[in-house]
């Protein structure tokens, strides 16, 4: 009975607050055009800084590569947009040295040549309404396809290097921020940064600059 009365009190308070808010805030003026854009499409280029680490290995943990991608967004409201995006990255190189106790020589060197492609989907909030400049914030989930061509050099004289190629997939969250700057009523320049993270201490930060249009 006490729970029921508390629930009733909560509902009454919520209605009072909501009612008072709506009574105050009937919009005076609308700046949303009647034929507002429903879609936005964009292409971008940029730079990816990737950092990764494997415990027990020595070498460099990061690489920087160029990237290119496209995106397609659907405006759910004038501010909220659902977007799918895809990108391909240039080849990144990592050098790893593995200590092998008891072996002669006691190490093995591996050069990793990494090529990554990503596809993702997310929700983005765009600030301001029908203006020339719109900052945005967003987040979502992306799938990574990592192609790793590993060249292993054993270190013993006369042994050729061995090459192994593997493909792996991973899913991870991303966050993004940036701005759209319209140069005409529907065409824009977009600049932004997008970061994604994983439990294996892998971090990707992509800086992008692109062009696009509202449809």
């Amino acid at each position: 009975m006490i729970h029921r009365s508390r629930a009733a009190a909560f509902v009454a308070t919520a209605l009072l607050v909501a009612g008072s808010a709506s009574a105050q805030n009937q919009p005076v003026i609308s700046i949303t055009p009647a034929n507002r854009a429903r879609w936005d499409i964009a292409a971008h280029v940029g730079w990816l800084a990737a950092r990764t680490s494997d415990p027990g290995l020595y070498g460099n943990d990061s690489y920087n590569v160029g990237l290119g991608g496209v995106s397609l967004g659907r405006y759910l409201t004038p501010h909220l947009k659902a977007e799918v995006q895809a990108a391909i990255h240039g080849e990144g190189n990592l050098y790893r040295e593995e200590y092998l106790p008891g072996s002669v020589p006691p190490f093995r060197v591996t050069e990793h040549h990494l090529r990554t492609a990503t596809a993702g989907a997310g929700l983005f909030y765009q600030f301001f309404d029908n203006q020339w400049f719109h900052p945005y914030l967003g987040g979502g989930v992306e799938v990574l396809r990592d192609e790793d061509r590993a060249v292993m050099i054993d270190g013993r004289p006369g042994l050729p290097a061995t090459v192994a190629t593997g493909v792996s997939y991973a899913t991870r969250p991303f966050v993004a921020t940036g701005f759209k700057w319209y140069v005409t009523e529907r065409a824009f320049v977009r600049a932004g940064a997008q970061g994604s993270f994983s439990s294996r201490d892998t971090t990707h930060v992509a800086w992008t600059l692109g062009v696009g249009g509202d449809l």
């Binding site: 508390r6 008072s20 003026i29 700046i31 800084a49 029908n130 020339w132």
Partner: protein, 124 residues
């Protein structure tokens, strides 16, 4: 009992804050609109907190007709004076559109590549 007391206090606070808003000054804004002249650029803040940049088209006794300055055109709209919290002239101040765009694009692209270079030097 304590929960109900807290809820009652919250409700009182909310409703009293609504009543405590600044009283409308329609006469002030009517006089202002009629004196600044048709074609003036104005920045209007409404009683709901929303701000709109607009061009004054017509100032009548109870309301004024304004054209919002937006990227995609919207129709001219009537604004009752008693919904205006504040209004001021919004004249251009010396920097033209072309110069502003050039400065903006230049600084944006410069910042973009500057940050990338800093990041590359940090990670390498």
């Amino acid at each position: 009992m304590r929960t109900i007391a807290i809820l009652a206090a919250l409700a009182t606070l909310t409703t009293s804050s609504a009543f405590a808003r600044q009283a409308p000054q329609p006469d002030v804004w009517r006089t202002f609109a009629q004196q600044i002249g048709v074609g003036s650029r104005v920045m209007i803040r409404f009683d709901d907190g929303k701000r709109v940049a607009a061009t004054l088209i017509q100032a009548d006794a109870d309301s004024m007709l304004v054209q919002p300055r937006t990227r995609a055109a919207v129709p001219a709209q009537r604004v009752p004076y008693d919904r205006i919290a504040s209004m001021e002239r919004d004249d251009a101040r010396g920097v033209g559109v072309g110069k502003a765009v050039a400065i903006g694009v230049g600084s944006g692209v410069g910042a973009f590549f500057g940050i990338m270079l800093i990041l590359m030097s940090v990670l390498d």
